[in-house]
Symmetry: C2
Subunit: 512 residues, 2 copies
Amino acid sequence: MRNIAIIDIGSNSIKLVLAEIKKNNSFRIIDELKETVRLGEGMEKDNKLQEGRIKVAIQTLKMFKNLCDATETKEIIAVATAAVRKADNQEEFLNRVKKEVELDVQVLSGEEEGYYDYWGVVNSIDRDNGLIMDIGGGSIELIWMKDRRIKECISLSFGSLDLTQQFNLYDSITSEQEEQLLNFLTKSFNEVNWLKDIDCDSLIGVGGTIRNIAKIDQRNNDYPLDLLHYYQMNEATVDSIYKLVKDKDLKERKKISGLSKKRADIFIGAAAAVTTLMSFCNLEELLISGKGIREGLIYNYLYEDKEPTSNVLDFSINNIINNLNLNKKHAEHIYKLSKKLYQELNPLFKLDENQFEGDVDKILKTATMLHDIGKSINYYDHHEHSFYMILNSGINGLSHRELLISAYISASHRHDKYDLRKYNLNRSQFSDVIDKKGDDKEIIRKFGILVEIAESLDRNLNALIEDIDCYLENDKFVIKTISKEDVELEINDALSASKGFEKLYDKELQIL
Amino acid sequence: MRNIAIIDIGSNSIKLVLAEIKKNNSFRIIDELKETVRLGEGMEKDNKLQEGRIKVAIQTLKMFKNLCDATETKEIIAVATAAVRKADNQEEFLNRVKKEVELDVQVLSGEEEGYYDYWGVVNSIDRDNGLIMDIGGGSIELIWMKDRRIKECISLSFGSLDLTQQFNLYDSITSEQEEQLLNFLTKSFNEVNWLKDIDCDSLIGVGGTIRNIAKIDQRNNDYPLDLLHYYQMNEATVDSIYKLVKDKDLKERKKISGLSKKRADIFIGAAAAVTTLMSFCNLEELLISGKGIREGLIYNYLYEDKEPTSNVLDFSINNIINNLNLNKKHAEHIYKLSKKLYQELNPLFKLDENQFEGDVDKILKTATMLHDIGKSINYYDHHEHSFYMILNSGINGLSHRELLISAYISASHRHDKYDLRKYNLNRSQFSDVIDKKGDDKEIIRKFGILVEIAESLDRNLNALIEDIDCYLENDKFVIKTISKEDVELEINDALSASKGFEKLYDKELQIL
């Protein structure tokens, strides 16, 4: 177990991420610090980092270094992006940081920045194709991901700070200013010749500004989940949020729920860039990636072969299992048994008929592999804590809807089940995400009881029941246990689900 | 790190508790199994454990043993209570268990059982005095705890199973049956001469039956917290629950929300015992202890000096910090700084005027020592996860109200605070526990902002600001930081709380 620190010196803010690395390349973020230093501010004058900004940057880096010392973090990867990249006094800055903070900073080229953005995205979002956009203070990276590889990548030399300065967007803007801004953006995108060839549907957005667009939308809709990564918005919504902000002056913008006060003054240009790009490339969806350059640097550090993970969800689940020291053997057994049960009962789920949205295998895998995750909080009522933790552990590779359904199924793994009405989690709170058609609840219950049965069959965590055969037979569903030992108690325990099973499947449950 | 298993062979059920023991005597429960074996059933015939029951018991113990093997648990402490204690064929049973399961079982005397109950209670409930009552299937233990020591202890030779058999209470009961039952109970209590001398106010209830009384009450009232340990009920409520159950037949009883179906047939006699004892000893309050003999055995195993813990809350907080590997140094620093701030601002809290119920130091200690506990779930939004985890981690030594207030304060430790309205956690959900008088919210906010300021002052987790001096001066509250280094960034960060501070305290915040 050791720590690494990523320090990201941007034009707008300087950030520190501290990660703990465990065996098998698993990791978790243990701390994060951010200072809005605005290192790129004032550079338009002489293309130099300004002395006042440099001083704050060095002060900030000292504080970060201090945190690294306090947490015995010896490996520090420090990178600088657009502001330092563009500055004429880059060398002076780097020397001062080296001397005063004892820190070596690597200046990333625009393409390298794009590469790490891509690394953050491809290892945390389960999509094969998309246009990745990272809006920073001093640059915009565009990466066309095709079949999980970089097809094209460019770094535009303006970011939210530049747009704000160039078109004077700090406070309210006139329609003339807006026109100039939009023309500039369209012209810039036009100059990227491959943008015309984009054939995917999604813009995958990275960076604080884009996360802010999502936050505003979530607040607008009282979105019930506290998750930004993997949040989905359509083009019209993104455009409406741009329109909402550009018609307000700074004071009014600061009152917009979800918009960071520290970002309100540099937000308009960036929001315009997103909506303009979506319309320019005909992209239907904005998918938020909470992971970007910093996570990309971590993944890049971890994966020696520099190949993106072959399965985002599997990596994420394994990561959590390792971090929390969960019983993987038992988890895998519950997954195997539940899946067998589901495969035989599949016709009774009527998923097609109910137009069920979501990847069933991903859902079942998440629900079963992490069904005991709640034990990390407290053994007692751990099914309820599993519900909370599945929702909040930052699992990658699932849509919010899939995640929520997994959490509900997982919470049903004990006889003392999670009441769907509990804490109003049912209709009122999550109605945006599940139950739109009213059938999700039944499907959750149908899956839940299978996991409950599987859990009974592996009560002693030891795969005493090695496997099962099962089949539908007239009015019965028969489970034949395969074991070398006497498993009467396991079977009896599993049979306490029979009443519920019969209700849900209209079949008698028989376990032999 | 090693595991120990506690196996508790009772008259009604057999239970296994698996605990993981870490350095510094910290531990956590990692698994639990329970089978309702009813080993004591049928004993009234010939005072022998019945063959059918013995078989199920041995089968159960084999399964438990299997779980111990699967989890590499080498130390197993197996004890048997009333049924085995009383049985004429005790030796035969013990020999068979030894031969067939390879398990040595220690038969506890009634006094030993009472001792371990007391150990479970005294180390998990922060009370000096109380009458502890443990109702088992085959015995009732009464322990008078005075100044945290056992003053008197007795084991009555009847339990819920015996009462049910002797007075035929399985289904509905007549008023004649009830009279006989109550007379028997009063006579039995009368024979315990020291019960007349009891001078405490609380009955501290241990065991499944008493927990069931609490569960029924919680369901009746839609109690918003999922906590039984430390749940408080008054005598009239306990009596009303007894009246509710005794007027129903078995079928109707099984429908009572909160009452375990597996316990519904043996519940009346036990409920009568509780209410009769409370009235007999003039006890005003029933305080539920979720910890009893099994936890007592664990504590007894851990504490070599056999002295009860001197501070239940401290032990519990340390236990959690060790289990989750939290940063104790930083946590203690936040506690220290917050406490200093509170001590100076104390007059402005108007706690007396608001008739604030609760131990302020306990609350502040819990909120600060565990403010980062949510990082175990996810660094992002960890203040929200801290809220959840403080409520659900099984912290001992606080009332539910104190616990909830601690959770809210802890959730306020970051600038991006926990919205009190979030998830309806505000009035609607927790109105039974806080906000009865409407002032709790303001007090929570007042504490919360102090923890937020302390957190800013120790941003780099390294106690760079070693200490503070603070004082009220006219319209100002001045904090003087004591540090050898430049702490401008820490001060600036702390000052971002000034607006909120001024609103709450009507004082300008100055930090030097």
